[in-house]
């Protein structure tokens, strides 16, 4: 009886969300799959094309490049950002009072900046002629390098900026995770003879693992869908060689008015994100315990 009523209450509370979810997500998603089976412009019905678009996808060099770029971007950002966030969080956790708040704000501030501002900041810092970081680049590479106009340095560059801009959020998650480890648990380990490294390896790391898995999963999904930052940095540059998957959809749909094929690529992204997320989830869970 109460269970029945619970269900009813749950349903009523969820109804607005379900309605919006249906209208704004389920319906467009189904429509997208249908569109991927048509040869159609962005607006307008077009004509039935069967699996033609999918056949085209299989032989599409740009799709392959965009997929490779996107995976490369994820590989460059997710692990590095996670490790960095954990290190920073452990550092911040040692600070106290206003100093901790100030340092935390420093790391979190970039996360609150609009992507366009992040882009402008780093575009200037790394400008080939005036960039204040070019001396460092020159010291490493032997000459000034146009980071965002050189194909091989583009993704590492964008990945670096992305990590800079987003690490603050992961730091926050890790900090919450670290705080949820009771101080006495660490103290017990110290009394048991654990030094800093052993303490991290045997206590902190296993206990923070669920947060690590969360951080990794959030990043995997959000970075597989990367668009804005890549778009801004390769704008008016070598887009072909440096674009991400979502950017390819944007280009097909909005610049080439190729709605049917854009939908096909979008379906491919959906499948890729779903498969990788499930894979990662399984992997992380099995490592958890």
């Amino acid at each position: 009886m109460t269970r029945r009523r619970d269900m009813a209450v749950a349903f009523i509370l969820l109804l607005p969300f379900l309605a919006i979810y249906g209208v704004a997500f389920v319906y467009p998603t189904i429509d997208m799959v249908v569109l991927s089976l048509r040869k159609a412009p962005l607006i307008g019905a077009g004509e039935w094309a069967g699996l033609d678009n999918y056949v085209r996808l299989a032989g599409d060099r740009l799709f392959r490049i965009a997929t490779r770029n996107t995976l490369w971007f994820v590989a460059l950002t997710a692990p590095a950002s996670t490790v960095l966030a954990l290190l920073l969080a452990m550092g911040v956790a040692r600070l106290r009072g206003w100093l901790q708040a100030a340092v935390l704000a420093c790391f979190f501030l970039p996360f609150m900046l609009p992507v366009s501002v992040v882009y402008l900041i780093w575009h200037w810092i790394l400008d080939t002629h005036f960039g204040i970081a070019q001396p460092i680049v020159a010291a490493v590479a032997g000459r000034s390098v146009s980071i965002f106009r050189t194909v091989s340095t583009f993704m590492p560059g964008v990945a670096f900026v992305t990590v800079w801009a987003t690490v603050g959020f992961s730091v926050l998650l890790f900090l919450a995770g670290l705080r949820s480890i009771p101080q006495e648990t660490s103290e017990a380990a110290r009394l048991d003879g654990a030094g800093r490294i052993a303490l991290f390896r045997h206590v902190t790391w296993p206990l923070i693992w669920p947060v690590t898995a969360l951080v990794l999963t959030i990043q995997l999904i959000s970075h597989l869908k990367v668009f804005d930052i890549v778009y801004l940095f390769n704008l008016r540059g070598r887009v072909d060689e440096t674009m991400s998957l979502v950017q390819y959809v944007f280009r097909l749909a909005f610049q080439q008015n190729d709605g049917g094929y854009a939908a096909t690529v979008a379906v491919a992204i959906l499948v890729l994100v779903a498969v990788l997320s499930v894979l990662q989830f399984q992997l992380l869970r099995s490592r958890g315990q």
């Binding site: 009771p182 648990t185 103290e187 017990a188 009394l191 048991d192 030094g195 045997h202 206990l207 315990q289």
Partner: protein
Amino acid sequence: MPQVEFEKVGKSFGALAVMRELSFRIEDGEFAVLVGPSGCGKSTLLRMLAGLEEITAGEIRIAGRAVNDLPAKDRDIAMVFQSYALYPHMRVVENMGFSLRLRRAPKAAIAERVGAAARTLGLDRLLERYPRELSGGQRQRVAMGRALVRSPSVFLFDEPLSNLDAKLRVQMRTELRHLHQKLGATTIYVTHDQVEAMTMADRIVMMRDGAIEQVGRPLEIYDRPANHFVAGFIGSPAMNVLPGRIRAGADPAVALDGGGVLPLGHVPSLAPGRAVAVGIRPEHLRPDPDGPLLAEVEVIEPTGAETDLSCRCGGQPLMVALRDRGSYRPGQTLRLAPHAGPVHLFDAETSARLTHPESMIQEYDDDRHETRNG
């Protein structure tokens, strides 16, 4: 087993000083209980000894060696936390063997020692479980097991029983004493429960507000509390304290402010008219038609073994613990006399103890409890 010495130890958190010059010594193999009200600094003291908290003044020595700058992991101290602080991601067997694993002990040796400790504590069947799959009492045992396995030179316990139910607490008290008798390790046990202190300690260190009020064997403290505060803290129900003045005249006596005259035995030369506080334990009062105290019964609390009477005597509250069941009624007036125990005198201003053993109405054999240590 080493002795542990505290010499003029002080502690402050930033500008906040929570502990003043604190000196005492715990002998080799002794079971010492640190007792005092919440917030008096017991945990802090323990944590300073363990190396978890910086020692901001003075020196702590273990086996004669100053440990102020020795990291926690090198002090060879095991501690059982109030929260148990088990490693949630490790099974019981791993929790208990963790310290040995860190020391790179051979697997076989770890298994053997964990097995032995588990048998001692009755944990054999729980070794494969995770802490979250254990009851509070079982977790408490695992925490003890983890300390046992290490056979450390000093054992520390920080209110280890306070999260257990009453029955288990009594049982664990006994077990802990047994364990100590078996191992003979120097042990410091923190509690705010005077019953635990009385029943378990070889020696009690009584603390208040970051300072030591009295150090002594349990009955010594019971019989000769150094001051008003200790008198009130140790013993249950708490000692009655009645204000009065030393009466002029040949027979030493106190005239109570609330009425009545309490004769004393041999009293040292206290100036007549001096303000004092008279302490009488509730269990040392008996109904006596000739008794000097006149009290009105307010509440009757039978505990089975005792009958506690909550009375009022000349405007002051007065507790009486009687061995018999009697037939008492609220509103009834009783005459009472101190009986079968000492009357304590404290300075009304400093609250320090004034009486000497000779002053007791009933002579007390000081040797009676010495055997306890043997």
